[in-house]
Each structure stands twice: as C-alpha cells, then as structure tokens.
C-alpha cells in the first residue's frame, strides 16, 4: 500500500520530465523509439541486491537510452507477479526485475505494455567484495540495453586519464579510480589497446620520451621498439591491436608519424615526411585502412587523413585559410562514420564532430574550454575535457540526446581515452 502511494507521487513527479526532453531529432530505428522521447524503464523493486540495483539503476540512466523512473530501493517487495497495470499508469514501457540465484542473479526484462517477459537470463556474479564485481554488474546492464535497443550499453568500459602527470584508469561511472603509473614518473598521451590488456603512453624524460606498453595485469611496462630516442607521443593502436602509430620529433625541429608492429616489436615505418610541417595525433579508422591525423601543413594544425601506409593524403576537415582556428586531437568513431576533434573558436577549443561522408560538422560544445574528445564503443557517447565547472574535468555527452554528465575526479584531468568493452575475462 505504501508502495502504491510512492508510485502515485512518481507519476506526478515524472510527468513534467517529458517536456524537458530535447525536441525532435528524428525518428530512430528501434521498436519503441519515438521522436524526442526515451522509453520509460523501471527497475522493479525486490528484496536484497541493493548494490546490484544501485549500479544497474545508474548504468541504465547513464546509457541515455531510457528515462529511468526513480524508485525507492526496497520500497516494494514484489511477489512472483508484476503489477503491470501499476507500471502502465506510470508510463513505464519496460520493467527490469533482478533476483538472486545460486551463482548470481537472474534478470528479466518485462514488456509492461503487453504484460509479458521479453527476455530473461541468469548472470553469474562474483562476491560483492571481489574486484570484478562492479564490472560484472556493468556487463549485466549492457546486456539489458542490448535486449531493448539491439546495441549493448557501454557501462562495462573504462577511461584512462592523466591527473598530475600520472595515468589513472576509472570505470565509466566514475568508480574505482586506480593509478596505472607510479607517482615518480611523468607520462603523456595514454591510450588503451583494443583488447584492454595494455595502456600505451609516453614516458616523459629529460631528453627523450619513449612509448611504454604497460601490461595492466602484471603492472610491467615495456619500451616499444623504435621509440628509444627522441620524443615519441600520441600513440594509437590499430583496431586489430597489431600496429601502433605515433608521432616522433626529430633533431631538425620536425614531427612525423611512424608506425611499428607492436606484437612482434619490429618493423618501424615512417608514414609522413613533413619537412616544414608537423604531423601528429594519428587515429585509425575502425577498418584499419585509414588514419586521420593533425598536420600543420596549412600553417595552423588541421585534420588530415591518409592510408595506413602513409599514401593518399588528403585534407579531412574543411577549414577557411587564415580564419579557422587550430584543430587538434582527432579520434575516429567506432562506426567509422565520424571523426571527433577540437577546434579553437575565439581561442577556446570546442568539440566538433565531422561526418566523414558529407564532410559536414556538428559543434557539440560552446561554453568554456572543451577539448580532447574520445568515443565510447557505442559511437554515440563522447568523453572530453571541459573547464565548465571551474577546473578541467572529464564530461560525457550523449550525442543523440545532448544529455551531459561529469565524471567526477579529484584534481585537474587531461587527455582521456575511452576503452573498448571489457569482456568477461577482464577484472
């Protein structure tokens, strides 16, 4: 009875939310998507599993695919049947039911409209105190997102960031902030390997900067072949994880892009010959055949592209000579359709998305300084650095809805890079 009252209040509270939703962005392909709305989803109340529910609730909200109706945890211990009628009056289209079983949890996705269970699956979970617990729950939520939308969520991912010259990893929901490199080292340009086993970064020394391949399981860092001398920076893995492209300074003042076979630690090859221009910040297209990069050949840094062997170089992001600000930090989207980068507008960097096919731009930010965008594996969310809160922090934007949230970290944050999805083997 008490639960019914609480839910009744929710109807009143939730109704105005609809009006705040971003307006018409076109009909999406999907079963229940309609223009400008996200389907309402409710995490069904149940006994126990409070921490599982709390993580799921937040993940599903952060997925930006649903309007997640808030429920007091444990407000109603539902029996074996779900009161579809009640949730229908709340406007919920989906109900997610989580119950314990011997090995972990069983999750059911209820279609509230038709009053049926659309999907159910047992998920083994490690003990709540085990290091893999949160990531395992994130994988459950990513699967629920897939049940509804056909595309898994991105909760089971991490970002690597720089804080005070040290590389840290942090879960996509801001939890579990863990240093990767020792406090005694200064590092730059951290980047994930596609399988999430390694982070590569520049170890910043006095007269040189080798690129290190840091094995996250063992904590051991190995110097990448071909990066012994000079300053080597902005490493980026090819999508198959075999090649590492990076920029390297020379003694004539230039910077050019090289690639090395990182699995066999051999075969250094030079991809650009800048002479009077610098080339840096390579990023592979998901098919591995093209590389977008920054070149100063027009005088200011702008975004170019080339084949992964260095041939067939072209301007990628149009600019007006003498008028457009510097453009930097490109990252190719996981679906290959776009390249995110930042471009200075009135001397402040702002995040842009370039549609590769049409060469059209979308400017995503305008307040404060916003830089160094990095894609989530869904190709829909972007993390970037912004000082809009007063100090440099990582923010995550859903490019579909424009919803934005801060990944709260202590201290100034720089150069984020978003991992691919972590499989069940990852901690």
């Amino acid at each position: 009875m008490r639960a019914a009252v609480a839910l009744g209040l929710l109807v009143l509270a939730a109704a105005p939310l609809r009006a705040q939703d971003p307006i018409d962005r076109g009909v999406r392909v999907g079963i229940t998507y309609t223009a400008g709305t996200r389907p309402r989803l409710v995490l069904l109340p149940g006994a126990g599993l409070d921490s599982v529910r709390a993580i799921l609730q937040r993940d599903l909200d952060f997925s930006d695919r649903f309007e997640v109706l808030p429920l007091e945890s444990g407000s109603a211990a539902s029996g074996s049947t779900v009161n579809y009628q009640l949730y229908r009056t709340l406007g919920a289209e989906y109900g997610v039911d989580v119950r314990s079983d011997a090995a972990g949890v069983v999750v059911r996705l209820h279609d509230i409209g038709s009053g049926t269970v659309r999907q159910q699956q047992p998920f083994p979970l490690p003990a709540q105190s085990a290091p893999g617990f949160r990531m395992a729950v994130h994988r459950v939520s990513d699967e629920v997102v897939r049940w509804v939308t056909g595309t898994p969520g991105v909760a089971a991912t991490r970002l690597v960031v720089l804080m005070n010259k040290r590389a840290y990893r942090v879960d996509s929901d801001g939890a579990d902030v863990t240093p990767i490199t020792p406090a005694s080292e200064t590092v730059l340009s951290p980047t994930w390997s596609p399988d999430g086993r390694y982070v590569a970064y520049t170890r910043f020394l006095d007269g040189a900067g080798p690129i290190m391949l840091h094995d996250l399981a063992t904590g051991r860092a190995q110097r990448v072949f071909g990066t012994e001398s000079q300053l080597n920076f902005t490493p980026a893995f090819s999508p198959d994880g075999r090649s590492l492209a990076f920029a390297r300074t020379d003694q004539q003042g230039g910077t050019d892009i090289y690639a090395v076979n990182v699995t066999d630690q051999c075969c250094l090859r030079r991809l650009t010959v800048g002479r009077f221009a610098d080339n840096l910040s390579p990023t592979y297209a998901p098919d591995g055949r093209r590389i977008a990069f920054v070149s100063t050949r027009p005088g200011t840094p702008q975004i170019y592209a080339m084949s992964s062997d260095g041939t067939d170089q072209e301007l990628l992001a149009p600019y007006d000579y003498g008028a457009t600000g510097p453009s930097n930090a490109p990252e190719w989207s996981p679906d290959g359709a776009s390249v995110a980068f930042h471009r200075d507008i009135d001397r402040a960097p702002q995040v842009f998305i370039l549609e590769v096919g049409s060469r059209r731009f979308k400017q995503l930010t305008s307040s404060g300084r916003n830089s160094d965008p990095t894609w989530a594996p869904d190709g829909r969310h972007l993390a970037f650095v912004s000082d809009r809160s007063g100090r440099a922090q990582v923010w995550i934007i859903d490019t579909e809805t424009g919803r934005i949230r801060q990944l709260s970290l202590t201290g100034e944050v720089r150069l984020p890079h978003w991992s691919r999805r972590f499989g069940a083997a990852s901690p």
């Binding site: 040189a208 003694q251 840096l280 100063t296």
Partner: protein, 195 residues
Amino acid sequence: MKSRSLLVFALLAAAACGGKKPAETPAPAPAPAPIDSTAIKARMRQDSINAAEARARAAADAAARAAAQLQAQLSAEVSAMIHFDFDKADIKPEDQANLDRKAAILKANPGLSIQIAGNCDNRGSDEYNLALGNRRAAAAQRYLINQGVSASQITIVSYGEERPVNPANDEAAWAENRNDQFTPTAGGNNLVAPK
C-alpha cells in the same frame, strides 16, 4: 805553454795575499745582549716571504674571483632564455644579441655542448605543444648553426607545456613560459671567453 802556467800561478798568489790582511782589534765594548742578526735576518726574510705570499694570494684570489665571475657570466649568457610569441616559433629581433653571444661562446669553446629545450604556454593543445616546442628549440639551433656553431654541439628537445617556468595562468606567465631554455650537457666548466 810554460809562460801561461807562470801567469796563472802569479794571479793565484796575489789573490791569496789580498784576502789575508792583519786583523784590527776594536776596543772591547760593554757586552750588550748579543744581537742575533741571523735570527733577525731570518725573521725579516720570513716577513717578506709572507707579505709576498699574501700579495700573491690576494692576486690569485682576485684572479680566481675574476675568473669565477667570468665563468658565471659566460654560463649565464649560455643559459639565458629566449622567448616567443603565441603559437610562433620565430626568433624575435630582441633575442638576436642573446643568440649571437651564445654563438661566440660556443665557437670559442668547441668542447661545450648544449641542449635546447623548447617550451610552450598551456593554452594550445597539449600534444600539439610538444611539436611546437620542438620547432622552437630548432629555431634557436638553426640560428646558432647559421652563426657558425658546429651542429654537433647542439641537441634539441621539447617539453611542450609540461614544464612551465611560471605556473600562474595569466598573460605574464604565458609569456614567460613560451621560451627556449639552454642547458650545457658537456664542457660547461672552464669556459673560455670569446676574443
């Protein structure tokens, strides 16, 4: 032959007679405390030696000070920073005298090697600044080589925006932080002043 032997004998005899005059006997004076003239002379000699040594030491100290001062001045001239405009890597006219002096010192001291580190303010993109810093270091390197300095005396490196001289976030700090820093890597002691 014989006549020469005789002459030598005569000369030797004369010399012997001259040194052998009869001794005069002075009136016996009341015996004062015997003056140890040997000790006085020794003391005077020692004093003059000490004075001479002090003068020499002072001169040496002065010379050492002057040399140290010159070393300090030469080191300071070698290390003096140059500065850049925002997002630029061009040597400014006001820094040319600075670099000309460095070139002269480097040429006078072929054993001297320096590292030029290019630095940036924190406004540009973090990673682009690494490339820009390298350009700035190379600009000074090229200038010095054009003045006749051996390329083997110079290495360049970029610190981008990672090592600001002034951590503040204003125009003055940014201007300070856009620089080239010059550090001797070998032969930085006992520099010879250029002629």
